[in-house]
Symmetry: C2
Subunit: 375 residues, 2 copies
């Protein structure tokens, strides 16, 4: 089940509303990442309080732990992780790709040894659909091969990117067939690949559009390529995807990247950056990024971001967070993860309001100028 | 400033109310431990929600990090750690004792090298009072020497325990003098020492009573002695302390130990056990202790404790907590620390009600029988 209504447009940017099995999602949206069924360091109640409407789960990791027997017993991931709102799960393609030499890719799928217990496993488009069916994900991602930007220092050429993109297309067809056979009532998204080659991206997008899937993602970016290459693809591909369907830019990125993506017609984003950076003491603020480990914060009585309405900024000082980080206290990453996620969720809220007002360009310019000012 | 009113008695047990600079505390009370200015893995808002009324801080650790310059700038620990309710700080004696051979004890105080940066430091009764004055602790503990139960396999004899206890008494006098000189408006507690020797404990208690301090603690238990020895001292000492003053049993213990202490006339407890055990997957429940790592919980849909009203039990299953622990997800210790602390805080709430009803013995027997049943 999926509906998608476009409520307003501003250039290529769209203000939309996704209807999913477990509820509505206002777009453009940022989706916090809960790889193992938990957004690292953030309780579901905190996610609800900050207004997160949809989170990610990871097909590959959840397949290995806790495993399908446990997830089936709970009737899916929602009840298992106690998150009643929508969930999107990636297909496992990216994680298998991360295994590198430990994974053998063939037309059938990907063979690899479980990093948990050494079991020999085979992940195929069919298996990925079966797992995501058990997970009960509101949005199921097709199984794809994430085309590497470079392998052992050699940048992927067009022939190799084409071979990979074409296999992902065949896997999209197999994913769709298995999704239908399972009578999965949720929504299956296709994934555009094609590396850094615009012509391949266009071929991929056109072929996927023929499958008439309820949504489309742009994959294979944020995989080690130069920033300029990513920006080139983000400017190129989104608006070439079917206008009536939601568009999802996978694994991106900084707050500025999100602005780029929205302006190019993207509706959905996910990234580990807010949570991972928080654990490393890297905070997002209105006036630029703040490294809490810097000694200048040792006595700083201000909140991380005086303009921020999150529970961390409402109660705690930079000096205290600096201290927690220095002492290795768990409360540090807890409080800083809430702040960074709130920053992202709030940015999307403001972006939605700007699109509704037809004022995205002005908002984006002011946001970038503030961030560039430095803290 | 300190007031202490005894509202009800039941045998040796007392139901009281402590008035401190930053608010009232209902006793008997359990005080969560926030060594470095943070109760590990638990946000202050969660402590407030579960009804924690007073928490601990650690003079020794906070002296080293963030240091007095930072704490003074914030006007003390309350504002620094964003905890507006009462705080008790231990004097540093126990932590210096933990340094073992790296600390040199003399009549003056304890000389040691900072484990943080190698600086040569000297902690004396006067310095401890000065630090706790900067911290602004509602309850300041005298500087004492914690008498070891055994050193290098040799159990501490009476002569050695006497020497140590008598020095702690002299340090109590010096602590009181410095506390007065600083015109500290808060409350200074004395600490009874004397090892496992009742006669020494009585001498210590009598001499401290002459100092007419606003409260008294029993130190030097839970330092590696057999359980029977601890129980012997807990049964012996508390009711021999001045009846009108609050009595604090330091560093104890299991839920059953708390019942023992209350029945012996103790009003205040602290212990790292609920938080430390939670991080190790050891949970307290009505029907006994639960080890979440046990494979039997892999598919268990029940909450940790079906009779528990904490936010963890309201939302999450044992299977999910087992999974988080197995995956090393930070949310696991976060949720389990809240549960264990809630268990302790709730136990004290029920103990207070039982004393008011004159029904402590029956409550304790039922509680122990439930816990012994096993889960």
């Amino acid at each position: 089940m999926l509906s998608f209504d476009i409520l307003a447009e501003d250039g290529l940017a769209r203000r939309g509303r996704l209807g999913l099995t477990h509820g509505m999602v206002e777009t453009p949206v940022f989706m916090p990442v809960g790889t193992y069924g938990s957004v690292k360091g953030v309780a579901p109640a905190s996610l609800e309080a900050m207004g997160a409407e949809i989170i990610l789960g990871n097909t590959f990791h959840l397949w290995l732990r806790p495993g399908l027997d446990v997830l089936a017993r709970f009737g899916g991931l929602h009840r298992f992780e106690a998150w009643p709102r929508p969930i999107l799960t990636d297909s496992g393609g990216f994680q298998v790709w991360s295994l590198g030499a430990n994974a053998k890719v063939s037309e059938l799928g990907v063979a690899f040894q479980s990093p948990v217990n050494g079991d020999k496993l085979l992940l195929t488009p069919e298996v990925s659909m079966q797992i995501q069916h058990v997970l009960g994900s509101d949005i199921v991602m097709q199984f794809d091969e994430c085309t590497a930007y470079e392998v052992e220092g050699r940048i992927t050429g067009e022939a190799e990117a084409r071979r990979s993109m074409e296999m992902s297309l065949r896997w999209a067809g197999r994913s769709r067939a298995e999704f239908a056979r399972l009578e999965n009532p949720n929504a299956l998204f296709g994934i555009v690949q094609g590396g850094m080659f615009e012509n391949l991206r266009e071929e991929s997008a056109a072929a996927l559009a023929e499958l008439d899937l309820p949504g489309y993602a742009i994959g294979g970016v944020s995989v080690g390529e130069p920033k300029e290459a990513m920006q080139r693809i983000v400017a190129h591909t989104p608006h070439r995807l079917p206008a009536a369907k939601p568009r999802y830019l996978m694994g991106v990125g900084t707050p500025e990247d999100l602005l780029d993506g929205v302006a190019a017609g993207v509706d959905m984003f996910d990234c580990v950056m807010p949570t991972r950076n928080a654990r490393n003491g890297h905070l997002f603020t209105r006036f630029g990024d703040l490294r809490i480990r810097n000694a200048r914060y040792k006595t700083d009585e201000q909140p991380l971001d005086p303009s921020c309405a999150c529970p961390t900024c409402a109660r705690f000082s930079r000096a205290y967070l600096h201290h927690l980080d220095r002492c290795g206290e768990m409360l540090g990453p807890m409080l800083m993860s809430v702040h960074n996620l709130h920053f992202y969720v709030d940015l999307m809220r403001r972006i939605r309001a700007a699109i509704e007002a037809g004022a995205l360009a002005g908002f984006a310019a002011a946001f970038r100028a503030d961030r560039a000012r430095g803290i």
